[in-house]
């Protein structure tokens, strides 16, 4: 390991003693939050570099340092912000939104892993654009509101707004590792004109009706989104593999059991999460029914759908962790029931992902 470090550094110096590798940092901090950085780059201020190895372990380099990636490490250059984005909290109300200002914190010395670094390792893949990140944040927000875990009702009062803010801040920190500095309701009417949207939708419906009239009745088949199973499955499993251990660690820290019953409940939860994590770590390959036996295409699709749903349950688990962190003793029963539901979903989906076919008793 040390040898390769030395070799890499040596190669870097021999090839270009002074010249920096090509890297366009101008987009950072405005439209991009993190960009893949080439080896040998001196990290420009005020950015930091995050290096992630194949196992998901990450380390940070401060600005001014020179990136020297070890074997198998990927490097990102991360700009701390601040960033601004607009989120629509409800899909059905596009003209009212939230203007959110947030930043990526310097590393928290108390935390064993930085959440944003974990986000980079497990979800980023390549560059993290601000718009893509805003879409993820909006999804997380919309789901919490739809489930009733956050409340933003019509004519929100100040008290309700403050409760929403503390929940939202914690959600963004726990799920993505960003700190929300400011969040205000805004009128998005000028940018997202609902009348124009509906107009376009009606026109599209008219277009859709005309050709359908020619080619007989359209078949009412079960709708399935088109997606590439191999990609989606790999992405979802990677997330589960990297995030479940960190999630378990955080759940262990978030609750200090008050009595014996709660302690048992907590332990049981962690034990089940551990088993799910084990199951994900030993997941059979998507395209094989058994060693050397290929799996039918539609079964692969089914398996990929289950991994996707498991990843969705993982998102819910992070959101629940955020609620656990700010909850007092009072709502713990309700939160543990939610945790039970989420873990049950994780168990069901990961088991279904393992199966090569749908067991007969489930079809009936």
């Amino acid at each position: 390991m040390l040898g390769s470090l030395f070799k890499d550094a040596l190669r870097g110096t021999l090839r270009s003693p002074l010249r920096q590798p090509d890297f366009d940092a101008t987009r950072l901090g405005r439209v991009a939050m993190a960009l893949p950085a080439p080896n040998g780059l001196t990290v420009p201020a005020p950015c930091a570099a995050v290096l992630v190895d194949r196992g998901g372990r990450s380390r940070r380099l401060a600005s001014g340092a020179r990136i020297a990636a070890l074997e198998g490490e990927t490097a990102w250059c991360v700009h701390p912000g601040p960033y601004a984005c607009e989120l629509a909290p409800f899909a059905g109300a596009p003209e009212i939104g939230l203007q959110v200002h947030f930043a990526i914190d310097a590393s928290d010395p108390r935390a064993t892993h930085q959440r944003f670094d974990l986000f980079l390792a497990s979800e980023a893949g390549g560059a993290v654009e601000l718009s893509g990140f805003a879409a993820l944040a909006q999804n997380a927000l919309q789901r919490e509101l739809a489930q009733g875990n956050l409340e933003l009702p019509p004519c929100t009062t100040l008290e309700e707004w403050n409760a929403f803010r503390s929940g939202f801040n914690q959600l963004m920190y726990t799920r993505f590792g960003v700190t929300v500095d400011d969040c205000v309701p805004v009128d998005l009417g000028a940018a997202r004109d609902y009348a124009a949207t509906l107009d376009a939708r009606l026109a599209a419906q008219l277009d859709a009706v005309k050709p359908a009239a020619h080619d007989a009745a359209p078949v009412a088949a079960a709708p399935q989104e088109a997606f590439v199973p191999a990609c989606e499955d790999a992405r979802a499993l990677r997330r589960l593999f990297l995030e479940l251990p960190c999630l378990m660690c955080a759940v262990r820290m978030a609750v200090l059991p008050a009595d014996q019953d709660r302690f048992r409940q907590h332990q049981e939860l962690l034990r089940r999460l551990d088993l799910v994590s084990l199951s994900v770590g030993t997941m059979p390959a998507l395209e094989l029914a058994a060693p050397g036996q290929p799996l039918a295409q539609e079964e692969q699709l089914r398996r990929a759908r289950h991994s996707r749903r498991a990843a969705a349950a993982l998102d819910e688990a992070w959101a629940l962790l955020a609620r656990l962190k700010i909850a007092g003793e009072g709502p713990l029963d309700c939160l543990f029931d939610e945790a039970d539901r989420i873990v049950a979903n994780l168990e069901t989906e990961s088991q279904a992902r393992r199966n090569a076919t749908v067991p007969e008793e489930l079809e009936a």
């Binding site: 909290p89 409800f90 109300a93 009212i96 933003l152 009702p153 009348a195 349950a313 979903n345």
Partner: protein, 334 residues
Amino acid sequence: MNAPLTQATCRSVSLDGGTLTITATRRPRAGRADVKCSAPGAPAVAERMQQVVRLARHTEPRFDSRDQVVLSLDRAPGEGERDWELAAVLADRMVRGVIQLTEPVIANGWSDAWHLGRIDGRMLPKPAAGVLAGGVDGLPHLGALNGQPDPGAGISSARAWFPMHSGGDQDGLGWVEVSVRPLARAGQDDEDTISVPDLDAVRQSEVRAVLGGSRHFDGRGQGQWRTTVRFGESRFSGDSYQLALVMADRMARGREFLARGRVIATGASSAWHAGKVESVEALAPKCALIAREAAAGDRVLLPKEWEAALPQGLREELRARGASLACVERIGII
């Protein structure tokens, strides 16, 4: 979530005039299928029922794999009949506590797009009063049970509820529905494009004035929309429906945060163009009515002037039930 029942029934009127009953029960899943359906002598119907229920569950935000729901039809429906589909979906939701309906339901409706929550129509030609009828003129999508706009539709409509109080047996919640579709030609006088088919001329002009004023306050929505306003019960008096009307209009135009349940509002104003909400009559009976009717997720909006005189414990009672209450001085963002 409120403690869900372990059994629920929902009925549907079949085309031959009889009744179909769908019974749903819930039990721990224990490794079995999530939904199990049966219909006597019609395995194809049972299969379709399982498909319908699974598709409709895609529109729910909360997925729970711990329970199994068993649905059964009491007799086989007629050949090609599909109106039981809505009843199956509702029974499945009721038994899991996803929706809470206070009275027994008779529902008729079918859909080719259950995964979007749409209800395409019904086969029953003239549903009797009290039948929850699917389709554009009845219940167009599942969210409409709570008055919410369909986020994927071309015409946006939303409902809000208001307490109707006359001191008689007719007391209850009435609803007002606002549907808007984009108006291609701008520049028309806004009030011409608002139609209120159910009401007399005086009330029609009142509704137009209210919407005109509140849209003026809003700063948007003028000359943009062709609007239709419908009332569930057209025989009512007073002007306390106005706040509900304004809220439904704002929700339909996508300019208001949404409650998970219904919006129940009472309030009037002499100055909607300033967004002000003013007090109305009959505080005590209306509060009692609301306390009786509110369900989980509902949002209750009352005039600010009522705040000091609210009955003791109303707030707490609503909160315990999962509903929330706010006394508002004006509409719009905080």
